[in-house]
């Protein structure tokens, strides 16, 4: 029952909140209630169910990594819902917003709990298309553009996805997601199928080179929507990868190297691109791409084998958990500086700082712990070139810090309100702060095996007392913060853009758009030509009409008929008929 409620409640909430008269409070609470089953499932292990009547016979079941992500998702949707409830209370289109919000929520929960291909794909699509409504919520031209690009990319992704699923299901002979990785491992075309899935889900994840929609779409949505987009929906793609990847079962060297290098490219490149931005939300979006790149790396390692899926996937999930909560905190935080006044601002800055640290892997945060998990596995893999990975990872920590301190700087330029009040939605934000990445260390979600693997039965506290690790995590952050501070302090170093981003958000999408527009014009011309050709290429009936409706045709047939009516002609016919019949009768 709870499995269905997980999906049904958000849907109901979507419909209900959409019809709630404007000005009435409580839609936030509705969404909180709607997340309760998901949270329950995230915290408590419930045995899976099979719904034979649903779609193509659905299975609902959670494994550890997905449970972790479900918990993250539940938390984020609950807080974001609460946040949105008051944040958007004066918005003219709040009803619509809540509708898409609830639908996307249902999709997000659904895809996490489903264990078979059809329902997974269903909820994935539901989430994807519902969040379109969130992206274009503001209806500004930039939001529309972002939405358009988002949609096109989403459809391209879906097409790759469905192809990969067709092939995967055919290869596995089963609709169960759990059967797919082993099947791909055995299938000679496994790599190809996985590659299709990699592209399909890569769109959602924002993997290089499919990420360009993300810096446009995520910031375009209202703050709470951006929070869930970047905090949890982006993870749906990751979950998809985890479903397909035969982690620990295969040794796909080249695939592994490709994925890892894509991940590192994203981790570093996106951070650098993000630095050129002036909008805090765009900045965060690039940070998301960068962080997803880190997770991609982890997955890529898994494809080389050697590390059991039972360890690696929960680790990725935990990393995602930490990143998700923190990123959501920061995204929602972008709405705060303009509204929070007085002493509340201290709390706000503290919260934002914690969020930044959590992502960068600062001491005492979940970020440190999850990054440590990552490092452990990086150290264990035998993938060629693994030696440089740690260095790259450290570099990425520096760049991330740089990026996020730049984010804080951008926020600090927002003028504080004159009043000393905090808006209502400050409360859920604070709540989220407490529901943050620390939980990645809690036994409630941390699998014992993983813990044992990492800390070698010394326990989590031992890890934290290991100052060396802490220090190791500390200096890149310090380095990043210092660089930022110095560049801001000294004018000759301060080359940060202020009004216009140095590079347009979405970077090379603009080249694509430019080329694409030219191409589209050509294509349109071509199509128009084709269309007019098709139109002029008349069906057989038109040709017939032309003949039958023509004046000449009727004249000709009339004169032929009048010839046949002439007595003398009939006489000739008579004669001919007579002769031929005579000939035949001989």
């Amino acid at each position: 029952m709870i499995w269905f409620l997980t999906i049904a409640l958000p849907l109901l909430a979507a419909v209900f909140a959409a019809w709630l008269p404007a000005g009435r409070r409580g839609s936030g609470l509705i969404f909180v209630v709607a997340t309760l089953p998901a949270l329950w499932l995230g915290l408590v292990e419930v045995s899976g169910v099979t719904a034979q009547w649903f779609l193509l016979e659905s299975h609902f079941f959670l494994d550890t990594p997905r449970r972790i992500i479900l918990l993250l998702t539940g938390i984020l949707w609950a807080t974001a819902g609460l946040f949105a409830g008051s944040y958007l209370k004066d918005d003219a289109r709040r009803g619509e917003f809540f509708f898409y919000f609830g639908a996307a929520m249902a999709g997000n929960f659904g895809l996490l709990i489903s264990a078979d291909v059809a329902s997974f794909y269903t909820f994935f699509a539901l989430m994807t298309f519902a969040s379109y409504g969130l992206v274009v919520h503001s209806r500004t031209p930039s939001a529309r553009l972002a939405g358009k690009i988002y949609l096109v990319m989403a459809i391209i992704g879906e097409l790759f996805l469905i192809t990969s699923l067709y092939l995967a299901v055919q290869s596995a002979g089963s609709m169960l997601l759990a059967d797919i990785p082993p099947a791909l491992a055995d299938d000679p075309n496994g790599q190809f199928i996985f590659l299709l899935g990699l592209i399909g889900f890569g769109v959602k994840v924002g993997a290089i080179p499919l990420y360009f929609w993300l810096p446009l779409a995520h910031p375009a949505a209202p703050a709470p929507a951006s929070a869930v987009l970047s905090g949890t929906m982006i993870k749906a793609g990751l979950v998809g990868w985890m479903h397909l990847a035969p982690v620990g079962l295969v040794e796909w060297t080249s695939m592994s190297i490709i994925v890892v290098s894509l991940g590192f490219t994203a981790a570093l490149g996106a951070a650098i691109f993000g630095l050129t931005q002036v909008d805090p939300k765009t900045n965060l979006a690039y940070s998301s791409i960068s962080q997803m790149g880190v997770m991609t790396v982890l997955l890529g390692i898994g494809l080389y084998g050697g590390i059991p899926a039972g360890l690696l996937l929960p680790a990725i999930a935990l990393y995602a958990f930490n990143h998700g909560t923190a990123k959501a905190l920061l995204f929602m935080g972008t709405a705060l500086p303009a509204k929070v006044g007085g002493y509340w601002r201290i709390l706000m800055w503290a919260g934002l700082g914690i969020g930044v640290l959590a992502i960068a892997g600062g001491p005492l945060t979940g970020g440190l712990w999850t990054k440590y998990l990552l490092k452990t596995f990086l150290g264990e893999t035998s993938l060629p070139g693994a030696q440089t990975f740690l260095l790259l990872l450290t570099l990425s920590a520096v760049s991330t810090t740089l990026l996020l301190s730049r984010f804080l700087h951008l926020l600090s330029r927002i003028k504080a309100p004159s009043n000393r009040m905090a808006p209502t939605y400050f409360l859920p934000w604070i709540l989220l702060l407490f529901a943050g990445g620390w939980w990645t260390m809690s036994p409630a979600i941390l699998p014992t095996e993983l813990l044992n693997h990492i800390t070698k039965e010394k326990g989590i506290m031992a890890f934290f007392w290991n100052l060396f690790t802490n220090w190791n995590a500390f200096w890149p952050i310090t380095l990043g913060a210092l660089v930022m501070a110095l560049t801001l302090k000294f004018a000759f170093l301060n080359r940060w853009p202020t009004n216009k981003p140095l590079l347009p958000p979405g970077d090379f999408i603009h080249i694509i758009l430019l080329v694409g527009n030219q191409f589209a014009k050509l294509l349109q011309k071509g199509f128009a030509l084709l269309e007019s050709g098709m139109k002029s290429l008349q069906g057989p009936e038109k040709i017939f009409y032309r003949i039958s409706d023509d004046e000449r045709t009727s004249q000709m047939s009339a004169s032929a008929e009048s010839l046949l009516r002439r007595w003398d002609f009939v006489g000739i016919c008579f004669f001919i008929f007579f002769l031929s019949m005579f000939y035949f009768l001989r």
Binding site: S548, S557, R565, C573, F574, F577, M581, F584, L585, R586
Partner: protein, 511 residues
């Protein structure tokens, strides 16, 4: 022949209409109509009773005045004749009903044209006689009776076009009759008998027979307006009054076909070749396509219908090649004969119903509009939905869409074509159907088209419309007694038989 059971029905079937026709001449305008209608009803009833008699007793004969053939006249009704008589009666009675109201409506401008009734009854008598005759010369006489009364009916309106067309018709009819009679003379000269049944046994192949066959066939082709001798039909049929057109097109032309069929099957078997059948088939095929195309090109309703008759008669001619067997095939092994015969019979009957309905509807439209240019049919559906429906249904039957009689005919024809392996006729049937659909739906298209200001529909008695509709429905209903009908016909000697040519020679023929 004389050993068959005798019955007075054959004589009555010819005599009663003549009697009534003569009787009606003694009455005035009103009385004639009354007598005419009553006579029609009586004759129909009589026909039906006679058919019942045939179903009960099989072929019955009547020897007029007790004078045995060859000098005496022997009338016989075999199942084939019975079916034709039945068709004539059923379609005839509807046309009579229609004519009754039609002439009443037109009394004001034409004086009710009382001549119609005696002429029609004479025609009926002639047709009945034609179907009943078992004698080549009698057939000539009945043909002439039919021809003259038909022409007289055709010129009834007295309009110039009708008169010219009528003269053309008459001259063609006389030419045809004379050619036929010349053939009869040749036959008589070589055999000394005119009795059809006897001739079938004694006729020998030879030059005389061949010549006789040639002139008889050509003469009858002229009379039934087979291509390329259809020159008289469209003007005559389109210029006549509506009930007359219906009679001419639905019934009269079938008379010549009946004789042709009978003679080919029962008399000239010895002299025919496979190739000759093909030639007739080609004439039929050309008629189908040419007639349909011409109908499609016409702009006045009655001309469309008249040209359509040319095409529909072409289908009848297309039966002949199937009936003449290729060398080495016997009647027993030729399983397509029965379908071919059924096709012919159904084509005759369904065309009679459908074409009568079509012409009667055309008459209604002329009554309502004062002319029959088809552009004026716009919004016919809105103004006269019964007539529109009648045209639609009759058209559907002509096209041969299921489950109409036309469908049955085309189905059987195609079946025969395929079974006999003469697949080359199939495209003709198809093209014919399509072109027929072309003109039928050209009418319907206009019927549904938006009205223009200039044409106003005058009210027309509903009863006229209903008669036309009933005939159209009839062309569908005739499918249902098919089982019975075919069984009935199979008891006739000629039905289902084919011609096994025995003559030597001819590279297409048998050797």
């Amino acid at each position: 022949m004389t050993h068959l059971p005798t019955s007075s029905f054959p004589a009555l079937l010819v005599g009663l209409p003549i009697l009534l026709a003569t009787l009606s001449l003694f009455f005035g305008s009103k009385g004639r109509a009354v007598v005419g209608l009553a006579g029609s009803l009586l004759t129909t009833a009589l026909s039906l009773i006679a058919i019942a008699e045939v179903t009960r007793r099989g072929t019955v004969i009547h020897i007029l005045g007790g004078w045995d053939p060859p000098l005496g006249i022997l009338l016989r009704i075999d199942p084939l004749a019975a079916v034709f008589i039945g068709m004539l009666a059923l379609v005839g009675v509807f046309i009579s009903l229609y004519a009754w109201w039609y002439f009443r409506v037109r009394e004001a401008d034409t004086g009710g044209l009382p001549q119609f009734w005696p002429l029609w009854l004479f025609l009926w008598a002639g047709m009945n006689g034609l179907f009943l005759s078992n004698d080549l010369f009698n057939l000539f006489v009945t043909l002439e009776v039919v021809g003259i009364s038909a022409v007289a009916l055709a010129v009834l309106s007295g309009k110039t076009t009708a008169l010219t067309a009528g003269l053309r018709y008459l001259l063609a009819a006389i030419t045809g009759s004379m050619a036929y009679l010349f053939g009869v003379a040749l036959i008589y000269g070589s055999t000394g008998t005119l009795d059809i049944s006897l001739l079938g046994q004694v006729l020998e192949p030879g030059a005389t027979t061949t010549f006789a066959l040639l002139v008889i066939t050509l003469g009858l082709m002229i009379k039934m307006a087979g291509f390329p001798f259809h020159f008289w039909l469209p003007p005559a049929h389109s210029a006549a009054l509506a009930p007359v057109s219906a009679l001419l097109s639905a019934l009269v032309v079938k008379g010549a076909f009946y004789i042709l069929l009978r003679l080919w099957m029962e008399v000239f078997g010895v002299s025919l070749t496979y190739a000759a059948g093909q030639l007739i088939g080609v004439a039929g095929a050309v008629a189908v396509i040419w007639g349909s195309w011409q109908a499609f090109m016409q702009t006045s309703l009655k001309l469309i219908v008249a040209h359509s008759s040319v095409a529909q008669l072409g289908y009848l001619l297309m039966v002949f090649p199937l009936l003449i067997l290729a060398p080495g095939v016997t009647t027993d092994s030729a399983d397509w004969l029965s379908p071919a015969w059924t096709a012919g019979i159904y084509q005759v009957i369904s065309h009679a119903f459908a074409k009568a309905s079509f012409f009667l509807s055309a008459g209604i439209i002329i009554m309502a509009l004062g002319h029959d240019r088809i552009e004026s049919l716009r919004n016919l559906v809105g103004n006269m939905r019964i007539t529109a429906m009648a045209i639609g249904l009759a058209g559907v039957s002509l096209i041969g869409l299921p489950p109409s009689g036309g469908f049955m005919a085309k189905w059987m024809l195609l079946k025969g074509i395929f079974l006999s392996g003469q697949w080359w006729w199939a495209p003709v049937v198809l093209t014919g159907s399509l072109l027929t659909a072309g003109y039928v739906f050209m009418l319907l298209r206009l019927a549904f088209a938006p009205a223009r200001e200039m044409d106003t529909f005058r009210p027309v008695p509903k009863s006229l419309e209903v008669v036309a509709l009933l005939l159209a429905i009839g062309s569908f209903l005739i499918v249902f007694p098919a089982d019975f009908l075919i069984q009935f016909l199979e008891s006739s000697a000629v039905f289902g038989s084919g011609i096994e040519p025995i003559m030597e020679g001819g590279e297409y023929g048998n050797n």
